[in-house]
């Protein structure tokens, strides 16, 4: 693969060797166009971390996030963390500590002071690392990413090591578990699973003895892209750069062979032999779908042949209801992928495209730079692990809406059929019998509301990525926070909107108004604004101010505000005006207020 600035090297496709793959990332970093950073990442770690900065910039760019990186001074992990103080955000701190930093010489000779001595050492060092976390998290603007500890492959005790509950490896595992628990309980603290990354990369290759000896380089440079990709996934998800849809080629990806030539009975797909690789791949794809990833097919084939495969082939794991959009025919792949994005109302940067043909991958990369086009493994036997482990769809939480998304997109297909039958838009909207339920934010809906803040880009007025803690803080400060749930005759869209308003004397300021793209195009936003204006009026307000930030993709929100007929706010796309000037609730929508 020849890397380009927009499509840097894929970790799985890097050449082998202690430095080779890292050099590909560094070269991609040198070719990266300069631009404004969305976020500054500070590094703090043990040993030499040089090169991680370049890998992190490239990995984040792959995920759609531009970052600046502040390098760590060598060997000053404690000083870097304890001495940093609060700094203006948005910032993240990546803590790349390791077992050597934690235990020093005890890593090679853990039982020199007996089991009690080891327990004391582990407890003391664990308390220290948590003190460092406390210090870092004292900066309220900081997101902290902490690496788990990569254990050694064994100790001097050999097989007896695994019989000891008070042993070194059991102790490290317990420290990792408690670190993960702490991270899970804190929305600003995230575990980078270095242990799992090292296992995937190869534990025996994670560190190179010569590089460690001569340069205190504890993570082999070739492993840095893998670690950077893991951290980038978290940072991108935190910043709302979330991919939502997996677009799949069919021949060579969903099954082996060429459907048009081999026929459904001739393709490789089933529980045995070569077909098993494709069935396992489909199962791994279905697992992604079950957690909310939208699936689409883009294939050069006869549409009827593909539909028959989906509906009838006994080896298929994926079925028609799992596929939300299809572009099947004889046109170009770039055109097909573009059509899928448009049909699903997603930006191209929300898509991942898998195709076994290098020419198709090149075409999509060239035409749609936002689409992530990974290099699939050379052998289909590796496809399932490839899609399972790639981390293309990081999510900060899994909500009921995610788990129900499959059914929701199936309902969407029904809706589209009904739209085609309805003839005109008015009849379609009226026939949908849409209900817009507006309710105060509750503990039960807070996680989904925070997820919407991260995932929603198109109808989002200020693009503020409020996490659960920020929503709580806002509510405690008196903000009026309302969630929006939309349903219709075909099903429930789930919680798909949020409004955060700050009541003031006479004027309510709408800090954030967002709706999922799934419910756009039916004037739900008018109903939400109408309900909020009514609430503001009942509280004695006479006007609304709706600030808006011009983002790369929130044109729909800006167009909505511009169409309200209010006055511009502070010369930007925001607006303000009297409650009496706002439109009423569209007649085809029914409002339910809690």
């Amino acid at each position: 693969m020849s890397p380009t600035p927009t499509h840097p090297p894929d970790p799985v496709a890097l050449p082998d060797g202690p430095a080779a793959g890292f050099l590909a990332y560094r070269a991609a970093d040198a070719r990266r166009p300069a631009g404004t950073a969305d976020l500054t990442v500070e590094l703090a770690g043990a040993g030499t971390l040089r090169g991680l900065d370049a890998c992190l910039r490239v990995a984040c760019a792959r995920a759609g996030l531009a970052v600046a990186v502040d390098n760590a001074p060598y060997g000053q992990l404690d000083q870097t963390v304890l001495g940093r103080g609060a700094r203006p955000g948005p910032r993240a701190l990546l803590l790349v500590w390791d077992a050597e930093w934690l235990l020093g010489d005890a890593l090679l000779d853990p039982y020199a002071a007996g089991p009690a001595g080891l327990a004391e050492l582990l407890a003391g060092r664990e308390a220290h690392l948590h003190r460092l976390l406390d210090a870092a998290l004292a900066d309220p603007a900081l997101t902290v990413l902490a690496c788990s500890f990569v254990p050694p492959a064994g100790t001097a005790l050999g097989i007896l090591e695994w019989r000891r509950a008070d042993g070194l490896l059991a102790g490290l595992a317990a420290i990792n578990r408690r670190l993960a628990e702490r991270c899970a309980a804190d929305p600003r603290c995230w575990l980078v699973p270095a242990e799992s990354v090292a296992a995937r990369f190869g534990l025996d290759r994670w560190s190179d003895a010569a590089l460690r000896l001569h340069g205190d380089i504890r993570i082999r440079p070739d492993a840095l892209p893998w670690l950077a990709e893991a951290a980038a996934g978290i940072l991108a998800a935190r910043a709302g750069r979330v991919r939502k849809c997996l677009v799949l080629d069919a021949d060579g990806i969903l099954w082996g062979g060429v459907l048009g030539e081999d026929g459904p009975d001739g393709v490789q797909l089933g529980p045995d032999g070569a077909g098993r690789a494709f069935q396992e791949f489909q199962r791994a794809v279905l697992a992604l779908h079950r957690r909310g990833v939208i699936l689409a097919i883009c294939s050069r084939n006869d549409p009827a042949d593909i539909e028959r495969m989906l509906a009838d082939h006994p080896g298929m794991i994926l079925r028609p209801d799992h596929i939300s959009a299809r572009r099947i025919g004889w046109g170009g792949k770039a055109e097909g992928v573009r059509g899928i994005a448009a049909e699903l109302n997603l930006g191209s940067d929300a898509l991942v495209f898998i195709d076994d043909d290098p020419a198709n991958r090149l075409a999509v990369r060239g035409a749609l730079p936002g689409v992530l086009v990974p290099e699939p493994p050379a052998h289909p036997a590796e496809y399932a692990a490839f899609v399972r482990d790639a981390g293309w769809f990081p999510s900060l939480q899994l909500t009921a809406e995610d788990l129900a998304k499959g059914a929701q997109y199936a309902a969407q297909a029904e809706r589209e059929r009904y739209r085609a039958e309805s003839g005109d838009l008015g009849a379609f909207l009226a026939g949908l019998a849409t209900v817009v339920a507006i309710a105060p934010l509750s503990p039960a809906t807070r996680a989904r509301a925070a997820q919407l803040c991260v995932k929603t880009n198109q109808f989002n007025t200020t693009l503020e990525r409020l996490d659960e803690a920020a929503l709580e803080t806002a509510a405690a400060a008196g903000a009026v926070i309302r969630t929006v749930q939309v349903s219709d005759r075909f099903g429930d869209h789930g919680l798909t909107g949020l409004v955060v308003a700050e009541p003031g004397p006479g004027t309510w300021r709408i800090r954030l108004l967002l709706l999922s793209c799934r419910v756009l195009g039916r004037m739900v936003e008018h109903a939400v604004l109408h309900a909020l204006a009514a609430e503001a009026g009942r509280a004695g307000a006479t006007a609304l101010a709706i600030p808006c930030v011009a983002g790369p993709r929130n044109q729909p929100a800006r167009e909505f505000l511009a169409g309200l007929g209010l006055e511009p706010l502070d010369g930007g796309p925001g607006v303000h005006g009297p409650l009496s000037g706002l439109p009423g609730c569209p007649s085809h929508l029914r409002l339910e207020l809690t």
């Binding site: 082998d16 090169g51 590089l211």
Partner: protein, 77 residues
């Protein structure tokens, strides 16, 4: 081996291939710092299938020295 030594040096140090000649030395080339020196040694070992002695990398200061060390291990001038 698909790359010659000069190309490996240029790629590893991130410098122009045309700048790699026998005058190239660590003390004169800012990109040839201690970190990149270690990467260069690793890349050369990978490309030629050789392993330098533990104290050998520290004694390599310029391109002719690197070339001589490689030749000594591969047996090819």
């Amino acid at each position: 081996m698909s790359e010659d030594l000069e190309t490996i040096v240029a790629r590893t140090l991130g410098i122009d291939r045309a700048a790699v000649d026998d005058r190239l030395a660590r003390e004169r080339e800012p990109a040839w710092d201690s970190f990149n020196h270690l990467l260069l040694i690793a890349e050369v070992e990978r490309a030629y299938g050789i392993r330098f002695a533990v104290d050998q990398p520290a004694a390599i200061h310029d391109l002719p020295g690197l070339r001589a060390a490689v030749a000594a291990l591969t047996g090819r001038p």
